[in-house]
């Protein structure tokens, strides 16, 4: 309670409101310092959600570095930053010197493959290089990098659940995923050069919700898509609220450094995603499938380059055990719930699929997960950083 009062006292007085100036009684103890967080890409889909979540917290202060101010969030401080400019690190350094943040959350990334491969590379890979370079010079104590779970690569010899120690083996031709791998390598170099800073890398499972319009959501929602004949990988889908929750928790735990997989409970075969979305999977032999995806991509009709079809062939499913143990994170939505609710919200009417029956199954599955998680011994491991 005292902490709350302290925060109120620390709030600056409003000027020019014309109202009576209220003097709060002075609190003896010094108010807790608000953690100042810079969110790069804070106007994007993901960043804006994080900014909203941080605004709700009285002990956080947010500054957005982006090309445009974040939507209708007028109370958020916004600084213009274009990471695509060749010397963006110098600009960023000046901004960081002015703002003096306690942490940077780097989310200024394209989360779909782009036809402008150079632009995407400059932003996703070189942009991260700029951020780490400027943060190193400005001595920013903490950096969070938003990465994705696809960096492990879809391979036939993947274990069913990839842990953080697993080597990153995406297809070298897959530039979209390769850029995220490069961004992570910059993060590791930064951690080596500046041992006193804390670097957290969060590998998010691809997001899905009725609002998400990334390449994966578009692929699932397409009336038809090529299905690699005889292959049916397991996929995961993370709700954006859970992803934001993971970021907020990572900010709450400065002692937890390193890489974390952020994943929901449960897996769903790709065929089930197609079933729920009412999308027709046209089976083609897999070499032809790669070629057709590539052809559609080159023609400007496809959602992803052909090489990315590996993810429609083999599973790339990650284990969130470390995030549970160290960050105390646990996704509120299971994969089946995310897929089901997205499909129902977008294509729910006039369908033969009985969504209510599937929802019952999803509830039963959630119950099973909760039973299992409760049964696992976890208490001793709480708060251990690794």
């Amino acid at each position: 309670m005292a902490g709350k009062a302290g925060v109120k006292a620390a709030r600056p007085r409003r000027n020019g409101s014309g109202g009576r100036v209220v003097h709060f009684p002075r609190v003896e103890e010094t108010p807790a310092k608000r953690l100042k967080v810079v969110v790069t890409g804070g106007s994007g889909f993901f960043g804006e959600r994080l900014v909203r979540a941080l605004l709700a917290r009285p002990d956080r202060e947010v500054v957005v570095f982006d090309l445009v101010p974040p939507g209708d969030l007028l109370e958020v401080r916004h600084r213009f930053l274009d990471l695509n400019l060749p010397f963006a690190d110098g600009t960023l350094f000046k901004l960081l010197k002015e703002e003096k943040p306690d942490a940077i959350v780097h989310l200024a990334q394209l989360r779909s493959p782009s036809h402008h491969a150079t632009y995407a590379h400059e932003l996703n890979a070189i942009g991260a290089l700029h951020v780490f370079a400027a943060a190193g010079e400005a001595r920013i104590p903490r950096i969070l990098l938003g990465s994705m779970s696809l960096v492990y690569g879809a391979r036939g010899d993947n274990p069913n659940f990839l842990t953080e120690e697993h080597p990153l083996r995406p297809d070298p031709q897959d530039r979209f995923v390769g850029d995220f791998v490069e961004a992570e390598s910059h993060a590791r170099t930064h951690a080596r050069r500046h041992p006193e800073t804390r670097v957290q890398i969060l590998r998010f499972v691809p997001l899905l919700s009725p609002e998400v319009r990334d390449y994966r959501a578009r692929l699932f929602a397409a009336p038809f898509s090529w299905q690699l004949l005889g292959y049916d990988p397991l996929v995961q889908a993370l709700h954006p609220d859970d992803a934001v929750d993971a970021l907020v928790r990572a900010l709450d735990r400065p002692e937890a450094q390193g890489v974390f997989n952020i994943a929901p409970e449960g897996v769903v075969p790709l065929s089930t995603v197609r079933l729920l979305f009412g999308s027709l999977g046209v089976p083609v032999p897999h070499p032809l499938g790669y070629a057709l995806y590539e052809a559609a991509w080159l023609a400007g009709l496809g959602v992803m380059p052909g090489v990315h079809a590996h993810y429609l062939r083999y599973s790339c499913v990650v284990d969130d055990e470390k995030a549970r143990r160290v960050l105390g994170f646990s996704a509120k939505h299971t994969t089946l719930e995310v897929v089901l609710e997205t499909a129902r919200a977008r294509f729910g009417s006039g369908r033969l699929v009985d969504f209510d029956a599937v929802a019952d199954v999803a509830r039963a599955a959630r119950h099973a997960y909760e039973q299992r998680v409760r049964a696992r011994p976890r208490a001793a491991a709480q708060g251990v950083a690794s």
Partner: protein, 331 residues
């Protein structure tokens, strides 16, 4: 409607008054534009009105998708095991178990009713039917009808059609991470430490155990504290007598081995039909090491323990072979 999109109170007089309004010529066009679909679609539109669940064009795709997935459920475990989808296949395996190979299963009581355990079996037979029979035998004859989760070689789990099918059956790819995760969940896990060396064994090497991998199964048992249960399969070596390995065909196709059997590739697809030998599956007493999990990082001790399991299994196989008469009748 005015130019700005608001309905104007005084609509501008039409330059050309449609004839149907004058009532001179009857038109087939309905007054209400919403009825237009009924005119065009006729009976189909009335059908759609009666069945609102078919209104979306995706309903047609649904019909196909639901048909394709008719035997599947949404309730999978984390490895994709679909109990319902696996059930119909039990009939095929039951036929092979009771009629084709007339399997005799001994020592099923050595498998615990609950809790983790690691089945370690010899591998043979070119195609991994032995794994299917060990699994089916325990599911049929064990008191708790436990489902053994078999760890399957990469070469099978990455093949088209086999990949989703094996997953529905509850098998997982053989790797230490998967084995440890299953054992941590107190599952019954089956491994074939000989791996591809065992399944592609030549006929003249039958019932001689190959090297037991790199001792990964011992490390798995030490890390998870699971007892090792040796399983000796006799009879599977003769289902596809592998006379020679024609690797000059197999290597370009990316196969680890290409067998030459009396029926394959001579008889084409008929060569995939296994010979109806008589099988014995002997399940031995559980072996529980008195070492802690820290020993998993000491390769020499791991190798020694692996050799102990290997010799136990070899003794079990040899004693069964000594009592076996004919390969096909067993007498």
């Amino acid at each position: 409607m005015s130019a700005r999109g608001h309905p104007s109170p005084h609509p501008a007089p039409a330059l050309f008054e449609p004839a149907r309004d004058a009532g001179l010529t009857p038109s087939i066009l309905p007054k209400n534009p919403e009825d237009l679909t009924h005119v065009i679609l006729g009976e189909a539109a009335r059908f759609l009105d009666a069945h609102p669940e078919l209104k979306s064009p995706r309903a047609l795709v649904d019909a196909w998708n639901l048909f394709r997935n008719r035997s599947r459920t949404f309730l999978l475990d984390d490895f994709g095991y679909d109990e319902v989808a696996a059930r119909p296949w039990a009939e095929l395996f039951d036929f092979l178990y009771t009629v084709w190979w007339r399997v005799t299963l001994n020592g099923v009581e050595n498998v615990p009713n609950a809790g983790r355990a690691l089945l370690v079996a010899n591998h043979s037979g070119v195609l991994p039917w032995d794994g299917a029979m060990v699994k089916r035998g325990i599911a049929r004859e064990h008191a708790a009808h436990r489902t053994a989760r078999m760890l399957v070689l990469d070469m099978f789990t990455t093949l088209p059609f086999l990949q989703p099918w094996l997953r529905h059956m509850g098998e997982v790819r053989a790797c230490p991470e998967n084995g440890a995760r299953l054992l941590e969940r107190d599952e019954l896990v089956g491994v074939f430490p000989e791996g591809v060396k065992g399944v592609g064994k030549l006929f003249r090497d039958r019932y001689r155990l190959a090297r037991f991998g790199r001792g990964g199964f011992v490390r798995l048992a030490l890390q998870t504290g699971a007892p090792i249960i040796p399983v000796a399969v006799v009879g599977a070596e003769e289902i596809h007598p592998n006379l020679a390995r024609m690797d000059f065909i197999g290597k370009p196709l990316g196969l680890p081995y290409f067998p030459l059997t009396p029926t394959f590739p001579l008889l084409g697809p008929l060569g995939f039909l296994p010979l109806p030998t008589k099988w014995w599956i002997d399940i031995g007493k559980p072996i529980l090491f008195d070492h802690g999990p820290e020993v998993a990082d000491r390769p020499m001790i791991v190798n020694e323990l692996a050799d102990r399991v290997r010799s136990t299994l070899q003794t079990m196989i040899d004693s069964r072979l000594a009592r076996r008469g004919s390969v096909f009748t067993g007498d």
